[in-house]
Amino acid sequence: MSNSEDAHREDEHRKLQRRTFLAGAGYGLGAIAAESLLARQARAAAIGPRSDRWRGVIEAPHVPRRARRVIHLCMAGAPSQFESFDWKPKLKELHGQPFPESLTRGQQLAQLQNSELRARGPFIGFKKHGQSGQEISELFPRIGTIADDICIIRSMHTEQINHDPAHAFMNAGSILKGRPSMGSWLLYGLGAETDNLPGYVVLVSIGRSSDQPISSRQWSAGFLPSKFQGIQFQSKGDAVHYVASPEGVTAAVQKQIVQEVQKLDGMALAARRDPEIGTRISQYEMAFRMQTSVPELTDLSKEPKHILDAYGIKEPGDGSFASNCLLARRLAERGVRFIQLYHRAWDQHSAIETDMPRAALQTDQACAALIRDLEQRGMLDETLVVWGGEFGRTPMGQGTGRDHHINAFSIWLAGGGIKGGLTWGQTDELGYKYVKDGQEVAVRDVHATMLHLCGIDHKRLTVRFQGLDQRLTGVEEAKVLKGILA
């Protein structure tokens, strides 16, 4: 553990002791009746601005902590692995031919149900990049420039063939509603590092195509208290719901209102002793801070031009994926624990040859820029970045596109304890299914690995719900992908 982390923990411990003392003074001692009004108010004021920042249930890391935060670049709609990270020359050779039935018999299909299955070869070439020589399609030349920083997993597989449940499975490890998403688990386990912003933020970019709906359940806290839910930053109106003061109310007036509420609630706390009141007082504090810090955060006007150019941002704050990547870095800098970027552009059932290059163009540069930017700021080491969709696409064609596929897809990870320049796992020569070579990766394995990098043993982050000790990785055996750790 680093020195700064030691110091941090000690500081936390002191704060906790202080809180305990305050709370004890509030509820334990019987001298309240004798107190003067003044003293009561003084104490209420002392409790008011205390930090109620959530510290997490993991008191000491179970394993050495490599990542402090996670950025999930969620390529919603599911990008084709055949035109991104899984080069299949054999499939190209078979293009247009009937797809071998030996592979598909009895397997689940989505929109290709009851159709004749024919191979669709990749429509774009691949290049080797970096010293590692990782193969990446020509649609992603900029990601090519960070090839040595990323670990590509080609052997991903999932259990859900439709977008809605597949997102749920990727985010929460279960398709049952009411389960916490991974961001909520992480925030619950590790706590927040900021008092001024939510600990889990979701951004959904605009200006994409081929979009599929997504549900706010994907960032739900499920059975965990709602303070662990992802807060979606909006691209229209206020960035966070209700974060702007009412019409005609200046910041100064708003501040007086908040302080007055806190003052009156402080009087109630002294009289009624309900600790909930103390919590409310501090939530008002945080709400008011958010009213200031959210506009500051989302104001990209002070970012230098070379940074905007690096990300490919045309108009700062335009809600594009590029803009959101820069926002993600700013959120990371400010201590947000889990940042999720949705780019809903990848559901290419048809017109894959025009739509997928467009989606790649919208994302490629900014992904690479984000990694470089984090690296240059010395943050990449402690930030785990995950790129990927909710499933893959079929090696069989569907008209001018590809259908949903669960037996194989590709994702990549970078930073936060990940070994760069590595390709992990493989699929059969037509890319239909992952190969069982010990490097196959289930969704729960990604979860277990993510938690591991954050210092958490996935079996030990549990919450009792409906009689079971629930965990993100579920009941099946999940494995930490030791081979991809730096």
């Binding site: 149900q113 109630a268 008002y284």
Partner: protein
Amino acid sequence: MIWLGRGTTLLVAVLAPVLGLSTARGTPAPEPRVLRPVQFNRDIRPILSGNCFFCHGPDKGHRKADLRLDVRDSALADKAIVPGKPEASELWKRITTKDPDDVMPPPDTHKQLKPAEIERLRRWISEGATYQPHWAYVPVRRPSVPAVGDATRPANPVDNFVLAGLKERGLEPSPPADRRTLLRRLALDLVGLPPAPQELAAFEQDRGTNAYAAQIDRLLASPHFGERMAVPWLDVARFADTVGYHGDQNHNVFPYRDYVIDAFNRNKPFDQFTIEQLAGDLLPNPTTEQLVATGFNRLNMVTREGGAQPKEYLAKYMADRVRAVGTVWLGSTLGCTECHDHKFDPFTARDFYSMGAFFADVKQWGVYNDYSYSPNPELKGFSNEHPFPPEIAVESPFLVRRALRLRQEMGRTVEEAGVRLAASRDEQAAYRAWRTTAKRFLIQHPNGWQPARLLAADAMPAATPKPAVVSEPPLVSTAENTAPQESSPKGRKSTKSAESPASLSRRIAPPVGWLAALRMDLAPVVKPKEPGVKWSRKALRRVFVSAVLISAGKETPLDFHFADALRKEPSYRNGEKMLGIVPGWDVPKLEAGEVASSVWELAEPVRIADGDVVRVTAQGEEVASARLFTSPFAAFGSGLAPSPIADSAKGMPARTPLAAYLRRAVAAPTGSHRRGLEEVYLLSTGWAKDEARRLREWARDVTRIGDGRAPSLFTTAIRPYTVRVLPRGNWQDENGEVVSPSVPRFLSATISGTAGADRRLTRLDLARWITARGNPLTARVLVNRVWRHLFGTGLSAGLDDLGAQGEPPSHPELLDWLAAELMESNWDVKRLIRLIVMSNTYRQDSTLRPGLSEIDPGNRLLARQSQRRLDAEFVRDNALAVAGLLNLEVGGPSAFPYQPIGYYENLQFPTRDWSPDRDERQYRRGLYVHWQRTFLHPMLANFDAPSREECAADRPPSNTPQQALALLNDATFVEAARVFAARMLEDRILDDDARLGRLFERALGRAPRRDEASSLLRLLGNHREHFAAHTDDARRLTAVGFARPAGGLEAAEHAAWTSVARVVLNMYESITRL
């Protein structure tokens, strides 16, 4: 020994608020001071279940060492337990050994027994290792009421049980709450509304012995009781306005909510309530109400996502129903048994699928669409805009009332315009001239239509004309809905002649004077079938109509307000049936060869001058020839004159009734004819623009309401499909055993009637079994939930799990006594509630007493009432009620209050936006807010309302900055504050002190304390100064929201009081029931 050490307790008290969880809700009750004999259910089962049953419990598939500890004989046979001899018991050895290979629970489970638990197990074995059947599975028997020393204290037996528990720990109950607090508590609990100041004053003064009981009876009889009770029920019934998966389209089901409200109001016995919801359709001659109740079975999430497999989703729907029934009535986590036998409770996977088989007859589709790759003949032609059948049409009293009110408004508006008409000489002259023209027209054209004079056929414009701009959103709103490729005629691009099969255009010269409506009769060409051209057989199918006025060389598109066609397929927008055909319609396939007539009412009548031309264009396949008519008359909706639209159902396009009426009225415009004729004049000329616009808007609503019947999801039984046990829940695995409907086997023995029946059991059997006297779970589950409603925590804290992993109740005898009361009173829910709120336990003060919170942080012993944050809907209701803005109408469709813009941006199929209600519906109660499962209204979500994607038995309250932001900045609360402030300023004689007193009285039911008052008055002074210097800001703040601005108030003063009101509405006490 003390179960929770002092240190632990303190830690809980300190950490709970930090966790964002409400106090120490759910922290178990502390042990009594005197040592009690060990009791298996209370003391031992939770330890064994939490640590051992996972491997040594009911699940035979996962059992280790073939040992089970949940059955005594088995545990004894294996010498795991030797009664009386801990040291000889293997269990004891294993939990105390230091050897990591032998110790139990195994280290890799990360479970570790606490010393206190080990000691307790030792004591239990020494005392003979007696087992008890699980408390929730033994039949309910009424326990005797414990005697308590002081006979004056208990108000009813509820108190006896609670006092006995307190006495064991040497604790005293709290004094009664003061009368104002008590009435506010009771009102918020029973009707979800704060009491009015007069009610508080009256109750404070009424010292009669029956005063409190009278308040209870008043509130139980209120129509708002059902609304309050409906909220937790709608949570468990997973009631929502949308389907939840993927596109999350609307489904039509609000009448079910009305049913629930009404059932509670009428105090429908709970067994009847249960039977109707699960099996109302199977009752003999079911009533409409009983059919609406079966909407319960249809409230599961459903999908119409492309690529979804019907069979997979049917399996999901079935599983949802089993989980719902398990939670709602049995308080059991049946969800576990979808994949394997239960780890802790004696439910098996077979039980799961046998329960599911009860619902195999519910008519529903796995995927609500007809995709080429998974054809679904019954849903032919379905799009994302279609509803989710089967539906039943049911009259909504709300809608009937609304239509009536709108008609009255329209009548009043015509009346007002009539007064203006009478007052102006010029207008009178114009009216007379119109009447003369009208009379002449009607003589020449007795049916109201004048055949149009056709000009020479146009040369077709190069570009395809766009459909007219309409004020209604377009009929077709999604990309998916655009005509599929094969139906768009291939020849369109190349053929630019006027007689293209795709479109037809006619220029007419309407008569000089007013033009208010067009009629178009279209005839198709029935061409000989051409090889290779698919569309040629379709004849007339989809038609779009548009019109342009060409006057002095200038082209102006004509907007249509309403149109209807004689032959049309129903069309939908997000599940709602669309009336009218603007801008186009589909001709039913079978009628595609017939003449298609349509009538088009102009949004605003136009005055035709000599030489003006109107070009009418019909786009559609195979439009061959057209006949056009014009009319100077519009009439619509209010009922004063017959509406031509009303004719559409029975043989439009004849305007005979309207024409006949007008002939009579024009001849003698007096009496009842006077207003009718004035209405037609107003709509046909728009002479009073504002009134005409309002009339048209209302008319649209009235037409939409029609006869006030609304569709609602309901259950129709079909031939049940085969249900198999799905190994590990895998829907593709067909190797499982076929099962028929049956109730969980271990519970079936206790209840006669279902076991051994020689016919297939039905949902009706299931419902009767659930509410049979011998069912040990149902009454306990309901009592527990009602207790949570009235005290903040159930007698057993886990509302969704009364099984081994749930919490043994804090007062098991009380729970059973109330359960017995409930059943023996014929499931009388109001009686149960009355019994509980009459108790002194309920009436206690809720202030945390010094010392008490250390002993009992969760308040499980009930030595005081609990302070409880209002549920989301009532946070809203309370603020609006206090401000005097709340609309108290009961029932009806969902409402659309303010919502942040762009919140639905990530919804597609169809895309949609939120448009807030601009009339009184804006201020409807929270339980009527449109419930979008995937994007629940952010204010409701912030205050912990569940998405209702799944049955939710509880709402764990949290305390977050998002809540503060909503209360501070959401337009609903800001508007409430400014309207509230205006009310306080109405009485101009009052001084600041008195005003503040009134404000507090309304908002919190009490006077401000001196320190509160002085602080707020200081704020008032500061903000007076501030807003006086910034009157622009003051005006903006006091104009937030749609409510009419307060008249005659000085903006700065109003704004300063708005600040005060905002503070008070944000106070903890405002959103807390003390």
